[in-house]
Amino acid sequence: MARLGFGRGQLKDPRLPPGQYDTGSSFPVLTAEVSPRLTAQDWSFRVDGLVDTARTWDWEAAHRLQADTWNGDIHCVTSWSKLGTSFGGVSLDTFLAEAGVKPEATHVVAWSHSGYTTNLPLAEVTGGRAWVVWEHEGKPLPHEHGGPARLLVPNLYFWKSAKWIGGIRLLDHDEPGFWEQRGYHELGDPWLEQRYTGD
C-alpha cells in the first residue's frame, strides 16, 4: 500500500488542533435527539444553583443585554473544524453578573430545552470564554444548529456548546452530562485531543 501524505499536501493550518481538518464553508449538523420545535417566543434562559438570585430571561429580556460578537474557530470531536466563523449574542459573563455567582461555585451544567446536558468547569465559561448566541454569520441561528439560541464555548469540542440552550446551573462539584456519561471526555479540550473518557 502507501502512496500519499494525508492533508492533501497542504501546509497544515496552525489554527487546526491535532487530528482535525478544515470543513470549509460547510457546517455539519450533529444531533443525538429529535430537534425540538422551539421558537423565540417559547425560548428562555435560566441561571440558577449557587447564585445570589436565580434569574430567567425571555427572548426580549436577553436581547436588552449588551450584545457581543465572537469571531474564531470551532472544533467538533468528529474531526471537523470550522475556521474563521462568527456568532452574535451575549457573553455568559453578563448573565452571571446579573445573577451573582456565589464563591463556592466551581462547575456548571448547561442544559437544553430538549433535555440535553453538558458539564463545564466555571473557569472555562467565564472571563470572555462563553456566550449565549442567536446569530451565525450575521443571520438568525438556524434551527438545526440550535436556533433560536445555543451556548458557544469555542475553546472546547462543540458538544459542550449546547444547542437550544435553556439554562445553566452552578454547582460546587462536577456532574457529567449527556455525552460525558456516555464515553466522552469530561473536559474536551481540542488542543489536548480529549475525545473519549480517559484521553
Partner: protein, 264 residues
C-alpha cells in the same frame, strides 16, 4: 446491563426545579477502564457492497479490545510514510460475535481524505490502527423492541444491530427500514428478511408497488408496534425528516435516538 436514571445536578439544601433530561442512561466507561490505545489491525477481507461502498474485515492484533455493543464505532488511523496521520470514525457493521474481529463499511467520498485511501490503496494483508469501541448512546443491547431507520451509509450501525438480533435468536421484535436512492445503492443485499422494508427515493425497481419517493408517514405507520426504541441514522436531512415523522406518529421524542455520527 441495567439502565439507571442519570444523576441530576443537585445541591443539598437548595430547592431547585428538576432539569429536563433525555432519559435513562448507563454510564459507558469502557469495561477495560483505562485510556483506549491505538491497536494494529490487519485487513483480512474486503467486499464490495455497492459501486461506492466497501466492507473491510479487520483482525485486531495484540491485546483484545472490549467486545462492542451494536451501534458503536471504531476510530481508524492511517499513517503516511512521511509520518502524517489522519483519523476518522467508522461504525461497526458486524455483530459482536468476536472482540478481535470487526467489519467496517466505508462509503467512498470522492474528494475526501481517508475514504478514497481505504478504497483505492488498502488491500488484504495491509495494516491500519484502530481505537475503540466507542459510543454509549446509539447502542442497542438486544433487550428492547427496536425500530431501525437508515438512509445511505446510515444503515451500517443498524446492520450490526440486525445481525446481532438474528444471531441471538430474534428474541424481541425488530423492524428495519432502509432508504436508498436506487436499487443498486442497497448495502448488504441478500441479508434482509421479512423484518426489513426497503424504500427507494429516486428510482424504484420494476414491479415495486411503491413509487419512488421520500420516506413518508405511510411507510412508517405499519412498522410502529409500540414500546419500541427507534434508532435513526443517515444524513442530516434524512435523520431530521425521519425523526420528526416518528414523533408526528406519536412516538415519544425520548424514545428516538439519532446517530449523525457522534457528538459535535
Amino acid at each position: 446491563m441495567t439502565d439507571g436514571l442519570p444523576p441530576l445536578p443537585s445541591l443539598p439544601g437548595l430547592d431547585l426545579p428538576p432539569l429536563p433530561t433525555l432519559g435513562p442512561v448507563s454510564r459507558q466507561v469502557p469495561p477495560s477502564g483505562a485510556r483506549r490505545r491505538w491497536l494494529p489491525a490487519e485487513v483480512t477481507a474486503i467486499r464490495d457492497e455497492t459501486a461506492t461502498a466497501r466492507t473491510f474485515r479487520l483482525r485486531i492484533r495484540g491485546e483484545a479490545p472490549d467486545r462492542h455493543v451494536p451501534g458503536q464505532h471504531y476510530d481508524v488511523r492511517l499513517t503516511a510514510p512521511d509520518g502524517s496521520t489522519a483519523q476518522r470514525s467508522y461504525s461497526i457493521a458486524s455483530a459482536p460475535d468476536r472482540a478481535d474481529e470487526v467489519e467496517l463499511t466505508v462509503e467512498l467520498i470522492p474528494d475526501g481524505e481517508v475514504s478514497p485511501f481505504l478504497h483505492e490503496e488498502i488491500g488484504v494483508g495491509d495494516r491500519v490502527e484502530l481505537r475503540g469501541p466507542f459510543g454509549g448512546w446509539f447502542v442497542w443491547r438486544g433487550d428492547t423492541p427496536a425500530l431501525l431507520l437508515g438512509g445511505g451509509s446510515g444503515v451500517v450501525p443498524l446492520m450490526a444491530m440486525r445481525r446481532f438480533w438474528h444471531d441471538s435468536g430474534e428474541r424481541v421484535p425488530l423492524r428495519l427500514l432502509v432508504s436508498v436512492r436506487r436499487p443498486e445503492d442497497l448495502y448488504y443485499r441478500g441479508e434482509y428478511g421479512s423484518e426489513t422494508t426497503v424504500i427507494h427515493t429516486r428510482q424504484a425497481p420494476p414491479g415495486d408497488p411503491r413509487p419512488a419517493g421520500r420516506l413518508s408517514a405511510d411507510d412508517l405507520r405499519p412498522l410502529l408496534t409500540g414500546g419500541q426504541i427507534a434508532y435513526v441514522c443517515g444524513s442530516a436531512g434524512f435523520s431530521e425528516h425521519a425523526s420528526q415523522l416518528l414523533v408526528s406518529l406519536g412516538m415519544p421524542a425520548a424514545d428516538v435516538r439519532i446517530e449523525r455520527f457522534g457528538p459535535g
